[in-house]
Amino acid sequence: MEVTAGWYLALGAVLFVIGAGGMLLRRNALVMFMSIELMLNAVNLTFVAIGRHVGDLNGQVAVFFVMVVAAAEVVVGLAIMISVFRRRASASVDDLAVLKG
């Protein structure tokens, strides 16, 4: 059996749903963050797979940019986590329901 791009897409979908589930079900902000990373990776995978299918390198370039943005996002996000944690001593997002310090 040959592994076609469709297989990767299916795998990407599964990983994406798992990530989304983590995002929705977990309260720990760090885990939610990691779920987001997982979703991004799932999508990246589909980019690369489709890029290979159509013989285009631009898919990989897109992945590159996603990674850069994700890295930046993680940096800032974690910094926010730290400062929130310093104040609240909790990493649960459900404790952050009001726009007030």
């Binding site: 990691m34 290979r52 013989g55 910094a79 400062s83 649960s92």
Partner: protein, 173 residues
């Protein structure tokens, strides 16, 4: 044939890692599971002739980002387990229902018209040179913008992490 084996093995690892990340109450284990997933995805990149991307995936994601996560987890001392009991009404049911619906829909699409574009005969060349060629010609402006983004992100991170959370003039909690 090799590819099929690789897909099955690393696909399983990836899914298992992802599930452990989502389901394990302790974030440290979750982080390790996610790292496994990332590495598997790097393998898939290689298979799909994204050599440079695979290297970046390993270095940046599995290396830098996940390490950062672990640092933070250690730093804020959440090595204890999280209470997984759900308090938001309908949250769990909705989340699972939507997830299933998503998969079903993807399945529907997959069964119907998955990829309509004709398969290309040639594999893309995912070498550093080829990627660099694209980035520094067609994608030069977005690329430069990412540099800005990174600078702003690092400055922002330093600023956020550095300043004391105490309010000016206000009473401390």
């Amino acid at each position: 044939m090799v590819e099929l084996v690789l897909f099955i093995v690393f696909g399983l690892i990836a899914v298992a890692g992802a599930l452990s990340m989502v389901l394990h109450p302790n974030p440290v284990y979750g982080a390790l599971g996610l790292m496994a997933t990332m590495l598997s995805i790097a393998v898939f990149y290689v298979v799909n002739s994204g050599h440079f991307i695979a290297a970046v995936q390993v270095v940046v994601y599995a290396g830098a980002v996940m390490t950062l996560f672990l640092f933070v987890i250690m730093l804020i001392g959440v090595d204890r387990a999280e209470n997984l009991e759900e308090r938001l009404p309908m949250q769990r049911q909705l989340a699972i229902g939507l997830g299933v619906a998503f998969l079903v829909l993807i399945g529907l699409i997959g069964g119907n018209a998955w990829i309509t574009a004709p398969a290309s005969a040639s594999e893309p060349n995912g070498s550093v040179e080829a990627i660099a060629d694209l980035i520094f010609t067609d994608w030069l402006l977005p690329f430069e913008v990412t540099t800005l983004l990174l600078i702003i992100a690092s400055v922002g991170a330093v600023a956020l992490a550095q300043f004391s959370p105490r309010r000016r003039g206000g009473a401390e909690e």
